[in-house]
Amino acid sequence: MTAVPPVSPPRPGVQPGRVLTYVLLVVAALFFLVPIYLLFATALKAPEAINLATSWHWPAALNWASFSEAWAKIGGNLGNSLFLAVTATILSAMLGSVNGYALSKWKFRGANTLFALMLFGMFIPYQAVLIPLFQFIKALGLYGSIWGLILAHVVYGIPITTLIFRNFYADVPDALVEAATIDGAGFWSIYRRVIFPISIPGFVVVIIWQFTQVWNEFLFAATLTNTGSQPVTYALSQLSGGQAVSWNLPMAGAILAALPTLLVYILLGRYFVRGLLAGSVKG
């Protein structure tokens, strides 16, 4: 290697390249943020103040009633989504953790083929299993109950949660497991004493990822539930689908429906990105 310093020192003065960087950043940021400006501007307008020609104007008088009105319409669905997302997330995180542990630390012949077959389930279009799934949930007597939806999300969540935990545990040195084996520890005591205690970051990634996915899902929500058990994505699609509704309502509803996952992302974005990158497989 030549004697080049690894990090070039910051150069003083204004450089045209630097300025261009910031100009491009601001333009890009506008593209991502303008929809959010319009979202709030419309949600905070009174219905009679909403006019296509003035859709860019910030409301003269803020109308917070949109939110209470939207809450009255979809508050119950938000509750459904919360129960659904929390339950399904916990169950699939636990399943994924033991699966990942078994697949990465107790490898057997064909484990990788088995895992690849499992992963395929992550990519299939759910339209290709929807009719049998619908029949199955109906036969179990779970149609229209939130539990049918939980079952579907837990099962189809197995591939991604197993994948994330398997990759996470792959970084745990095998020597740790071998040392515990020599000390006489078995499958479960190694999991309890060695693996589980160091799994917190893995759990955080999986929980954030699954919570977001389940909360945002629409196809199962639309097919497996009925009026009492619909999650918020379906309720929101109904709220904005009608032509007669004035636009402040679906906009306020969209804010309410987006808030939980948005908060998770803003508070724990680092782990969210890690889940995102894990989704691109990497064996």
Binding site: N99, F108, L130
Partner: protein, 374 residues
């Protein structure tokens, strides 16, 4: 490690429930869908929701109905739409994502904040994104009003309602087009095999390509799937949905590319500079080749998302907007609104085949090299 110990048995026991669940819910249900797609369940409305419906085996009749039946022009347009959608969506995400990653790689101030801004749409659901963009793309509002902020007259583009299409082609040419595309791919494979010195593969690929092209030139033009020409193309109403989808997903490619750029050792870039490479040359010959595998996996992930996209379309254009519809949406409507289960299952199966074309080779290549030393 050796033999079947108690621990090894435990590990298999732990995996068993998941294996059974995946076997039933993924592979079993796919098989069941394929079976349903070969029956006439629901094609007779009176039988669809009957207690004990009379279901007959009809073989591939539902598929031939979809691809050449008089009533299913909607499905054929959707198939074309979803391909165009996928191509433009992937190009948009890759371009914007790579651009953003390259800018962030220059270490601007407040990098974390910029990243947060570019990535937050990923945490929203397609329904929320669709609701917002539906409002912005109203014919007389939002985006079309934007020019008035600069004093210009409002634009009048029908974002979600346009009836115009470009790049139209006749559906009857589909066999010809398919044969030509496959033939060209085979020629590329043959050339690659020739360069690698694999004579048998060169011969097989070359022969298949020749046969296909001969078929395409002499027999293909005479194959008519429909009695009359049927034009399909890229509906301009899809542009708005593609923009919204790029808005939501380009942060993902940015994150992938940024992780890739950060993984390139600084010494490599410095070495290129010492060797006299310009900035552009360094990107061209050092950075971009190293990003190629990332581009491929991003294309595969985005491709499978886009082929099965339907909630965004549902929320933005509604379920009954023919010029923006996609097969995934049609499957839902056909099965659960019209109760035509077998036709719906056939659409679902076509979607699965499309997705499998890009996912299976990917999974195989990801896992083949490892299995040897498991």
């Amino acid at each position: 490690m050796k033999g079947l110990s108690k621990d090894r048995l435990w590990s298999i026991a732990v995996l068993t429930p998941s294996i059974i669940l995946i076997a039933v819910f993924v592979y079993g249900f796919i098989a069941r869908s394929v079976y349903v797609s070969m029956t006439d369940w629901g094609n007779d409305p009176a039988q669809a929701l009957a207690e004990n419906p009379v279901i007959r085996w009809v073989g591939l009749a539902n598929y031939s109905e979809l691809f050449s039946g008089f009533l299913q022009g909607r499905f054929r347009q959707e198939l074309v739409s979803t391909i165009f959608f996928t191509v433009f969506f992937i190009l948009g995400c890759l371009g914007l994502g790579l651009g953003l990653a390259l800018i962030l790689d220059r270490n601007p101030r407040g990098e974390g904040l910029w990243r947060t801004i570019f990535l937050f749409p990923m945490s929203l659901s397609f329904i929320v994104t669709g609701t917002i963009w539906r409002w912005m793309l109203q014919p007389q509002g939002g985006v079309n009003q934007a020019p008035t902020l600069l004093g210009a007259p409002p634009s009048t583009f029908g974002w979600l309602s346009s009836q115009d299409a470009v790049l139209k082609f006749d559906w009857n040419l589909l066999p010809l087009i398919t044969a030509s595309v496959v033939g060209i791919v085979l020629i590329v494979l043959a050339v690659q095999a020739l360069r690698a010195g694999d004579r048998r593969r060169t011969l097989v690929a070359g022969l298949c390509a020749a046969l296909l092209l001969v078929w395409a030139v002499f027999i293909g033009p005479n194959v008519k799937m429909l009695p009359a020409p049927e034009l399909h193309g890229f509906n301009l109403a899809l542009i708005g949905i593609i923009i919204a989808a790029v808005w939501q997903m380009s942060g993902y490619t940015m994150a992938l590319y940024l992780a890739g750029l950060r993984g390139i050792p600084e010494e490599l870039r410095e070495a290129a500079k010492v060797d006299g490479a310009s900035d552009a040359g360094m990107y061209r010959f050092v950075v971009f080749p190293l990003l190629a595998p990332i581009t491929l996996s991003a294309m595969i992930i985005l491709g499978h998302i886009s082929l099965k996209i339907f909630d965004l379309v549902y929320a933005m254009a509604g379920p009954d907007n023919l010029s923006t519809s996609v097969p995934a949406l049609n499957m839902y409507l056909t099965s659960f609104r019209q109760n035509q289960f077998s036709l719906g299952a056939a659409i679902g199966t076509v979607l699965l085949i499309l997705v499998a074309f890009i996912i299976v080779p990917y999974l195989v290549s990801q896992f083949r090299q490892q299995e040897g030393h498991a």
